[in-house]
Symmetry: C2
């Protein structure tokens, strides 16, 4: 593979992250060595340290980037009416997660392998995402369009329900993602008493 010297690190950085993502998702963080990642990228193990200080940083960067993209995507909400905002949240969550099976898998499976400081940062980002849904549910309860006993619990229930789609949905299966989206839009509305 020919590369110009100038773009060397620009190209290799993303390839290192892509290889780490795929290997972590397939074998688990603990089972993957820096040497394996280097082999997958096609560089010497030593060269890998030009792009990342260690395996923990690689894991953390993957999880942080995933959460940053999720927060960015979900912050652009067009609707202010609670019911429409809820539908938008449902669609965005399903589409965003369906497109990133490896990232979602790692985000849930490898939390235990983050160092305490890194864990705290990722937890805060997850909390911010949950807060977005909880704000929608609160607005809906205040506006008497939703009936929810506990907005925090309902938030966790809806997110778990939606993320669960990743464990069974396959492109080309019985239902399209659009059909799944319609079914979940109704179920989520129902679950919060809309």
């Amino acid at each position: 593979m020919a590369r110009t010297t100038g773009s060397h690190s620009d190209i290799t950085g993303p390839r290192v992250r892509a290889a780490a993502l795929q290997l972590f998702a397939r074998h688990g963080y603990a089972a993957v060595s820096m040497r394996q990642i280097a082999r997958e990228v096609g560089v010497q193990a030593g060269a890998l340290y030009n792009y990342t200080p260690d395996k923990q940083t690689l894991l953390f960067e993957l999880m942080k980037t995933h959460m940053e993209e999720l927060l960015e995507a979900s912050s652009v909400r067009k609707s202010i009416e609670p019911l429409e905002a809820l539908d938008e949240f449902t669609q965005l969550h399903l589409n965003f997660h369906a497109e990133r099976p490896d990232e979602v898998f790692i985000a849930y499976m490898e939390l235990r392998n983050l160092g305490p400081d890194n864990f705290a940062i990722i937890e805060r980002m997850r909390r911010r995402y949950e807060d977005q849904l909880e704000a929608i549910l609160r607005a809906g309860v205040e506006g008497k369009v939703f009936q929810v006993a506990d907005t925090k619990v309902a938030t966790m229930a809806v997110i778990a329900m939606l993320t669960g789609v990743n464990t069974w949905f396959r492109e080309g299966g019985r239902l399209s993602l659009e059909e799944v989206g319609k079914i979940y839009t109704d179920m989520v509305r129902n679950a919060v008493g809309a």
Copy 2:
């Protein structure tokens, strides 16, 4: 620790499984060695092979036992009315999983580490569990007490919603398991249009 010779294997077998369960849940299957499990139990690494042929068998046995217990617990259903049967399913799922955080964690996280034959067996058991809920939903749809667009999708949604409780519920937290159970009973009923 004094042990009588007769009960040696009876006592050590469960201790091997308990140690494997705890270590797999904390560090992940791939990161745990038979040597570490032996150390935790307090036996020589070689002695471990009196109780289990290998690490894969240990993982499979843990997951199989978990599913057997779940299927046994859920097969004893008192109610035949769909709405009551649904409430019973909700309560049983929540209580059963809340009592077994390590087993639940492993059941989801380590599926990828099962050999193909073992995976197929566990998948079939999971399918049988899902079928129990789907049968309740179908009966409710036929009896016009539930409104569900797709009973298979609703089954996966309800199970994901309920299992998600394990990621945030802590004994001694803001809500008791009983309170959480009441909230989820309503949310699950709502989700299936009851």
